[in-house]
């Protein structure tokens, strides 16, 4: 959903679609800027002694606005499951989600009065900032990575990418039949390689130094060259290329999707911390 929005922003206003970022000529950007500006002006104009904090009338007002905003922004998760058109279309909602989410940074920061410490209050602020930053990251990767993803795919579908490996495996199986046990063992090593193996870190870094196919390739190249081994080496090299394509795809997909695993759970952690923040303030009123 988000990727579609981001990609289409590049079609320009002449296109029949516009992305959520430039929805209605940046209507929600303007609303968010206005909101931030109003908060900043109120902050500058209000004389809070001895210094700004969350406990002044302005602090409470900004805090209330911020808390309501957080709850409303979270509602996108509910809202996106129901698609509608018009003024409150999902696109409009997403546009508002992005820009009001950015305005929240201004409002929440002014609410703190720039007073931070090792406490539940700063925890709520920090978690909120993590959510916002992950969202900014999400938008930025959706603007750039899908191109990389399709470049890497080279018109192949995902099943085709898997199929390429499967076919090479079958050929390897056949080509290895005349080989002796040791060489057959090397080929089996390659056959045992699962392209999807590896933790999140491996996916994000794209570093597959323990790839069994690569190990098999190295070992096979070290064997005496015969027509049989030459054929196997050729197949192993082709498999390395096919695996590389899958892995690049995995890496881009991981970079593209990982932010939601931060954005969503930390959103709920933020709401929990916000609850603790509000309750603690009233508990020691």
């Amino acid at each position: 959903m988000a990727s579609r929005g981001a990609e289409r922003t590049r079609l320009g206003s002449g296109g029949s679609h516009e992305g959520f970022l430039r929805h209605r000529r940046f209507r929600w950007l303007k609303v968010a800027l206005l909101l931030s500006l109003a908060a900043a002006v109120a902050y500058a104009a209000t004389d809070v002694q001895p210094r700004h904090n969350g406990g002044s009338w302005l602090g409470y007002a900004l805090g209330t606005i911020g808390a309501l905003l957080i709850l409303w922004l979270t509602m996108l998760g509910v809202r996106k499951r129901a698609m509608t058109r018009g003024r409150w279309s999902l696109k409009a909602w997403t546009s508002a989600h992005v820009y009001l989410g950015l305005a929240l940074v201004v409002i929440a920061t002014l609410h703190t009065g720039f007073q931070f410490g090792w406490n539940v209050h700063t925890l709520a602020y920090a978690l909120m900032m993590v959510v916002v930053l992950s969202g900014i990251y999400g938008i930025s990767v959706y603007a750039t990575l899908p191109d990389e993803l399709s470049d890497n795919r080279a018109e192949m579908t995902r099943p085709q990418m898997i199929d390429a490996v499967v076919k090479i495996d079958q050929q390897l199986q056949a080509a290895a039949q005349p080989l002796d046990e040791e060489e057959a063992g090397i080929v089996r090593l390659s056959l045992a390689e699962d392209p999807f193996r590896g933790s999140l870190v491996r996916r994000l870094s794209g570093n597959y130094s323990n790839c069994r196919n690569a190990a098999a390739l190295r070992a096979m190249r070290a064997r005496p060259a015969t027509p049989e081994t030459a054929r196997v080496v050729d197949l192993l090299e082709r498999k390395a290329a096919a695996l590389g394509r899958i892995r690049r795809h995995l890496r881009i997909r991981a970079l593209l999707e990982i932010w939601l695993f931060v954005h969503v759970p930390v959103t709920f952690a933020t709401i929990a911390a916000l609850t603790a923040h509000v309750v603690s303030v009233f508990f020691y009123w």
Binding site: W118, D194, L200, I258, F283, W285
Partner: protein, 604 residues
């Protein structure tokens, strides 16, 4: 004899496909080599993996060099199966199942089946594994874990410990410290471990009673009802704010309204001037019976000083009254003292000072400090002490005995009279022996008569000389008259009296003035002593004089808020703001010190 091979494989739909083959002889070779009797394409199988030899009653199995087989679940290089019961041999991903064969039968039936996929095989289902979700825990469980963690650690734990805390257990880590929104000021830092010291009841705002558990001596600024009336009316936004505050249980007028906390570990922030000015800048309107003038800012709106002045005497008791300096009040200490005369650069006083320079360190003329001694804290000045502060010049000496100078007793007129009489009696010659008690008076003793006449004359003369001396001391030009107001006794009596003397030690009872920080300024800048010819002149500077340096909250050479001189809690001591700024000062409780007769030489 032969082996009957039944190779079982499965179609894509799962249907069993069986191919049969017959291998003649007693020997069966198994391997990846296409020439083998049982050809297995599994790469885990060696080219010539195993050989099975049929004997009379059993099958002997031998694996090739370097490889092994699995016989009834055990790895082995060689082994045997009884022909009668048969058995399974596993090679790589294949199973060779030898069916039970009667001892005399010709053929041994062998089923060959691939039981596992030799290598990892990819399938269509793997497409889902492209998503990062396949290597991540679900977003929902992650969210639940984080929510429970945060609520547990930062909410449930502190609340639980607060509810179950023992009275004395303010030691170690208190989980509610995680709620600390900012450090307490330095004076309250010891309370940081004990939130409940101030936040007594959960969900109830901090009450004054909590402050008063420690601050027992702080009293109210004024009567509460009058305070409420003095408050300016709130309209519009202010009224709304007040309504919201009261809805949330924040009643106005609490200690914490002015004394905000959790602002960091510094000194408590001084209360801003508007907390004073809100009420005091239009007080007369709202409290018509107040004796206080309206004050909003020292530079622009402050009434003239009203010091407490000794205006008159009620018999022996000094009467103090607050009077505005605008009315040029005079002071009545019962002393005579022309400041101008003493501070003059030339004239008798200056000359005398120069003469005594070696002894007392005077300058070319007298200076204020030659007579006025500050209090130990430097805030104010001690009352002038006759012997110590005036006695350098104003000598009360009247006799010298050997090297000792006899002085009149200051502060005790009766003693002065007695001392002078005694002195003059001492001048009478001793009673002639011819007038001794045992001497008989003989008529015609000219010598005796002359002595008697001379003695009587001396006695009579001494009496009148003493009277003259006493009168002189208490009369114009005399030692007492110079400085004091003398009450002349009726004729024939010598019961001279001196009017009592008193000095205020503090004029500004509701404002604080400290001489110490003003030390670099010349006394004459504020006190017009050089032009004062009478002790009745009140030499206090007026408001305008202070304003040459002191401005308002944010104006003037020395910006001065109300709190620089005044304390909200109406204490006579050093204002709390100055105390917090580490200005050391001793609180002077008494406002006047009456000069009373006391043993000579004593100085407080």
């Amino acid at each position: 004899m032969a082996f009957l091979l039944r190779t079982v494989s499965r179609s894509a739909e799962g249907r069993e496909i069986v191919r049969t083959a017959r291998v003649e002889g007693e020997r069966l070779t198994v391997g990846r080599d296409p020439a083998s009797d049982v050809h297995l394409t599994d790469l885990a199988v060696a080219l010539r993996h195993a050989e099975i030899l049929r004997t009379a009653d059993r099958l002997e199995i031998a694996a090739g060099t370097g490889v092994s087989i699995e016989l009834d679940g055990r790895k082995a290089a060689r082994g045997a199966l009884p022909l009668g019961t048969g058995g399974d041999i596993r090679i790589g991903s294949h199973i060779l199942r030898f069916l039970p064969t009667a001892a005399g039968a010709a053929d041994v039936e062998v089923a060959v089946e691939r039981v596992t996929e030799g290598e990892a095989q990819l399938g269509k289902a793997d497409e889902r594994r492209f998503s990062v979700a396949s290597v991540m825990p679900g977003k929902r469980p992650l969210a639940w874990i984080l929510v429970l963690l945060v609520l547990g650690v930062f909410l449930a734990w502190p609340i639980w410990t607060v509810q179950h805390r023992r009275q004395d257990a303010a030691r170690g880590f208190q989980p509610d410290r995680m709620w600390l929104s900012g450090h307490l000021s330095q004076v309250h830092s010891s309370l940081e471990r004990d939130c409940a010291a101030c936040h007594v009841t959960p969900f109830v705002s901090v009450r004054d009673e909590a402050c008063q558990t420690c601050h027992v001596r702080v009293h109210d600024h004024a009567d509460r009802a009058r305070l409420a009336r003095a408050r300016p009316g709130v309209e519009g936004w202010g009224r709304f704010q007040l309504a919201v505050q009261e809805t949330f249980g924040l009643t106005p007028g609490r200690c914490v309204d002015c004394h905000t906390e959790h602002e960091g570990p510094q000194e408590m922030a001084p209360t801003p001037q508007r907390f004073c000015a809100d009420c005091h800048s239009g007080l007369r309107e709202r409290l018509p019976d107040t004796r206080l003038g309206d004050a909003g800012d020292f530079a622009t709106a402050h009434p003239e000083f009203q010091p407490s002045v000794l205006i008159r005497w009620d018999a022996e008791v000094p009467v103090m009254q607050r009077v505005s300096l605008a009315g040029r009040p005079s002071e009545n200490s019962n002393l005579r003292f022309p400041h101008a005369l003493h501070l003059a650069r030339d004239g008798g006083v200056a000359q005398m000072g120069r003469r005594l320079r070696g002894q007392f360190g005077f300058g070319d003329s007298l200076a204020c400090a030659d007579c006025h001694v500050p209090t130990p804290d430097g805030t104010r000045f001690q009352p002038v002490d006759m012997e110590a502060d005036c006695g350098m010049c104003h000598s009360l000496a009247f006799d010298r005995v050997g090297g000792t100078v006899r002085t009149l007793r200051h502060g005790s007129p009766e003693q002065v009279v007695a001392d002078l009489r005694e002195y003059h009696r001492g001048r009478v010659p001793p009673r002639p022996s011819v007038l001794g008690p045992d001497a008989r008076r003989r008529p015609g003793d000219v010598m005796q008569i002359r002595s008697a006449i001379q003695y009587a004359q001396a006695l009579a003369g001494s009496g009148s000389a003493a009277d003259r001396a006493i009168r002189a001391v208490f009369s114009p030009g005399g030692a007492c008259w110079d400085c004091h107001q003398v009450q002349i006794p009726p004729l024939g009596s010598s019961a001279y009296r001196i009017r009592p003397v008193a000095f205020p030690t503090r004029y500004m009872l509701h404002g604080w003035f400290d001489h110490a920080p003003h030390r670099q300024t010349d006394c004459a800048t504020c006190h017009g002593a050089e032009r004062s010819r009478s002790a009745n002149d009140l030499l206090l500077p007026r408001l305008e004089t202070c304003r040459t340096c002191h401005g308002g909250e944010s104006s003037g050479e020395v910006p001065s808020t109300c709190a620089m001189c005044h304390d909200y809690h109406a204490d006579e001591g050093v204002p709390a703001m100055l105390l917090r700024q580490r200005v050391r000062g001793r609180r002077w409780e008494r406002t006047t010190i009456q000069v009373r007769p006391e043993p000579a030489g004593g100085r407080r």
